[in-house]
Symmetry: C2
Subunit: 341 residues, 2 copies
């Protein structure tokens, strides 16, 4: 635990002390049983790990250092204590790895639901995770900083999480034993790229984490920056788990939840081939947005240039205005956030 | 909206800029349908108001100024958009009153539940609210600062929220029209005491907000400070709504959710009779904790001195250690947080 959390659980609030001249980054993510995970598919350690990884990955995408995390957890009355124990093993294991303290939260008993839905004949598990980080004033890497002529990069390899989720859907029994965070399980134990994001703070013009899939997240970044992009199909790093699938490139382009980083940088920026052991690939170029042209073009070897539509998962984080009307409009047409069903 | 939220909804994180030399306070609270409110009892405006009031009241209890709030909301697919609209009216109305921005959050569709539970035959409404505030370094008012000889004070009047909830349980139809935050409805529209808390920052030794009831919250404060307390029964300010009930003093001593502030200060401190229009009452004295003595004693006119047991609502915020074992132990024996059932 760092010194950022001066006072943790046990008072009305946690008190955090940012470094002098730093700003504070805050992100919050809901994780709902049956929506983001299934009790019969996911070991509790994986659920704990994943719900924290989502928040830490958002901090990584700003170039922020984590200060503290908060866990609000609602569990059904009849949930075995062992499940929560194992959930916390996964959650706290990832927190320890990144030296971030669990500084507070809230717990409640979740209301009971029907047998048909929960199979356990009891309530559902609900978690809301808040991650708080810090970044030197004005140095947070935003989505909106991409400039025409920038090169586009991503970390690691893509499509692995979607490939593993597809295998899980086919045969969920195979995965019951994966109770430890281990490389090679990008769906169960994604690795937030905090060290990479921090290093990129001085190099990247714009950055986003790949939670919804390359095509969707690049669209977000381009829209925010008012630009367009060309992606070189051959340069997209396909994860080894996806490589064996029927449609490796689709998984890499549209599969969500890889939690790698997507960023742009000027052509003169010296982007290392690896940061903190994670490879970095140049995959395309930022160009001018044309009025009727596609936002993203995929440049292929054999099929020429083709428009790349956002095909990953949309969610609501991109709501621009905080007025009641706009938020309601989004809420009125909710879309599930995961491929579970 | 103040300038604290430099960047709101629309990026991976919100970016907040604390004032130089300030620390950051964070609190998070779950609000669950059927646990904290009922759709057939509470107007949506009240639900929105209440879930934000809980967080702002925690900031008030530290003496903090609010910087930004975050709302994670899961709603069932079939919930009318109007409900969310009205919920946000209540939420954003209170936010505007305290000049605090909604800087982000998350939304999801909540899983469906059985007819038996939800009556609507659909999912339940779940909200998690994060409130972030700032306080000059080292000046947050903690629960653990009470000293022997301190006088004990509370703001406003107590028992009103519990009295109004009791009336609601008796006749829920009466209350459907209370769709605007109005004084005199302490259960539906509690008023977080932010201005009072901020003013008390330089005067109070220890402070807590009265969310669980005087007897319970004073017990928390005394335990954290390693002291005991004597309360003068005649000095406890009973809310006018409670005064007409069968058991006014019980409501004032044990009723929760008044969201007034309870604090201690040295005898030489000049505590105003009113701060920001809110009356302040001296109700007791901090004394030494005795090994086998009661933590709190009630001094009465006719019945002498009697021990005052914590009788309000316990919840889990007081978990001291963040080890998986301790949190699990608490989670394994969940207690509902409200008197709804």
């Amino acid at each position: 635990m760092g010194t950022a959390a001066r006072l943790g659980i046990g008072d009305d609030c946690a008190v955090l002390r940012p470094k002098a001249g730093y700003e504070v980054c805050v992100t919050t993510d809901f994780t709902l049983e049956e929506r983001h995970f299934r009790r019969d598919w996911h070991p509790p350690e994986s659920v704990g790990h994943r719900c924290l990884a989502r928040g830490l990955s958002d901090l990584a995408a700003m170039g922020a250092e984590p200060m503290a995390v908060f866990l609000s957890l609602a569990v059904p009355a009849r949930l075995p204590a062992k499940w929560v124990d194992r959930f916390l093993d996964g959650f706290l294991g990832l927190a320890r790895k990144h030296r971030v303290a669990l500084a507070g939260g809230d717990t409640a008993q979740s209301p009971a639901v029907s047998n048909q839905i929960s199979k356990q004949g009891d309530g559902l598990i609900l978690a809301d995770v808040v991650a708080v980080g810090q970044v030197p004033r004005g140095k947070a890497v935003l989505r909106r900083g991409a400039r025409v002529g920038d090169w586009i990069y991503c970390t690691g390899a893509l499509g692995g999480a979607a490939a593993e989720l597809a295998s899980l859907a086919e045969n969920s029994r195979r995965f019951g034993k994966i109770t430890k965070a281990a490389a090679g399980h990008p769906h169960f134990y994604p690795e937030p790229r905090l060290a990479v994001g921090r290093r990129l703070r001085v190099l990247a013009h714009a950055m986003i984490d790949l939670s919804d899939g390359l095509s969707t997240d690049l669209t977000h970044l381009c829209k925010e920056s008012g630009v367009a992009a060309v992606i070189d199909e051959a340069a997209v790093p396909v994860h080894s788990l996806a490589a064996g699938a029927e449609n490796p490139l689709d998984l890499a382009l549209h599969g969500g939840e890889d939690y790698e980083l997507l960023f742009t940088a000027g052509r003169s920026a010296r982007i290392p081939q690896k940061v903190a052991g994670v490879p970095i690939h140049r995959i395309g170029t930022i160009c001018e947005a044309r009025r009727r042209g596609p936002r993203i073009v995929l440049e292929t070897r054999n099929r020429g240039r083709m428009p790349l539509e956002a095909g990953g998962y949309e969610h609501f984080r991109q709501v621009k205005s905080v007025g009641p009307r706009s938020l309601t409009t989004r809420l009125a047409t909710p879309v599930p956030r995961l491929h579970l069903r």
